[in-house]
């Protein structure tokens, strides 16, 4: 069974406005693919379509040979489609540890188990600690999320997505607000994820995009303008004009 994520003619309209229009996108297993494009191009909306936050007005989404198009968000998540949010969407009153434990317990299908204390399940906590350690959040494991600095919250976003042991990971500007050196580390951590996980990430930081992606899709005004390797995209004059400005050249 392959885990290729494929969309066909995918689109959504808000009123008369076509935020995403006729997108054919393929995400191969093990992909490290970047999705770039001007502000308001529809990148986040596309991820929302893929994860089931929005239902498309047109087109289809397949994962392997299963059609996801009208599946609800949590079912897609169960199938291994995890994401982070561009604007932090965390559990402010929980601690990072409990947040991750929660994500793991839902992954394990324990969410409806009400007759057994949580603490009885040591494995959950061990796994959570390991994961937090990997993202250098272990020191903050018991601080309420609401009190974490923004950058740490960004990391927790990723931790929550990873806790789901995803097969496909969709990252919406994971490094925004994270200092440069750490964002590099962060991306390295992501790149080191098992090769069978496919990753699609949105990022406006071209250093990161060019360093970590193997393939780049460029979305403009809701449509895929072009796709290609970093080298190809970096020199594409159309991409430069609408998106990169002078930034592209310096990274190629």
């Amino acid at each position: 069974m392959t885990n290729t994520l494929r969309t066909h003619g995918l689109g959504i309209s808000f009123g008369a406005f076509r935020a995403v229009n006729d997108v054919n996108l393929t995400l191969e297993p093990g992909a490290r693919q970047a999705l770039i494009g001007p502000n308001g191009a529809g990148k986040t909306t596309l991820i929302n379509l893929l994860t089931g936050v929005f239902m498309p007005t047109r087109g289809t989404i397949h994962m392997g040979d299963r059609e996801l198009t009208s599946l609800s968000a949590h079912k897609r998540a169960r199938m291994g489609l995890a994401r982070t949010f561009q604007i932090n969407t965390l559990f402010p009153s929980l601690t990072p540890l409990l947040s991750v434990v929660l994500a793991i317990s839902e992954r394990e299908g324990l969410g409806a188990v009400w007759w057994r204390p949580l603490t009885r399940n040591k494995a959950l906590f061990d796994e959570a600690h390991t994961l937090l350690g990997r993202l250098k959040l272990d020191a903050l494991a018991d601080v309420p999320v609401a009190e974490l600095a923004y950058g740490k919250q960004r990391l927790l976003e990723i931790a929550l997505a990873m806790a789901a042991r995803p097969r496909i990971l969709l990252l919406d500007e994971p490094a925004a607000g994270v200092p440069e050196d750490e964002s590099g580390e962060l991306f390295e951590a992501i790149a080191e994820l098992p090769q069978d996980i496919s990753i699609l990430f949105i990022e406006h930081d071209m250093k990161l995009v060019f360093r970590f992606s193997k393939r780049i899709s460029v979305l403009v005004a809701g449509q895929i303008l072009t796709e290609g390797t970093p080298a190809e995209i970096g020199v594409d004059p159309r991409v430069r004009e609408v998106y990169l400005g002078h930034a592209g050249a310096s990274h190629v």
Binding site: P38, N39, G40, G42, Q86, A149, G151, D181, H204, M206
Partner: protein, 238 residues
Amino acid sequence: MSEMLVFDQVIAGYGNAVVLDRLGFSLKQGQSLAVLGRNGVGKTTLLETLMGNTRVMRGAIRWCGEDITRWPAHWRVRAGLGWVPQEREVFPSLTVAENLTVVARPGRWNLQRVYEFFPRLKERRGNFGNQLSGGEQQMLAIGRALMTNPKLLLLDEPMEGLAPIIVEELAVSIRRLCEREGLPSIVVEQHPVLALEMTHQAIVLERGTVVHAGSSHALANDAALLDKLLGVGIAVSA
């Protein structure tokens, strides 16, 4: 009287937690300032304190010679502080146009000029605040601050989430605002190179206090110092 803004040994935080610890610096009239530092050192808290959203336990903040430490936020805006919060925080139940007009104060900046500055906002003017893309929200937050016709812009990571081409343009524009229109800014940034390019002065924070203060130009050209303060060796080489 050439000091525009002075932080005098400010101790401030949230509830009982101290975040800014005897933080002090001053900024001259017409100069813009970069605030650098790693995650969680208190950059945002500095701006929040300037806007009166934290609890100041000791010290004073002087703006154009007046002690504004205890002023309510809306007085500070009237006195010329224009704030762009870190998480953008546009008003979700107002349209783009309303988000802008609702805070409007008389001056050079009006709806039309903001739309010229960010054409994208004009296209999306009927959308509600929560129906915007991340970058559009960022533009709106900046536009909203401009609409208050401030004397000093407070930008908390303004470039976050913006497309490279817009970042480039915005950096140029912010510098130009300072030079041509006399509207300086305090810029909090994760990308020191960018921030230092845009500003005259720079301070570096660590655990809520200033560990370095100097000219932006000097700091930008001192790779070793930057690396020591911020650990961004890779970035500087670019």
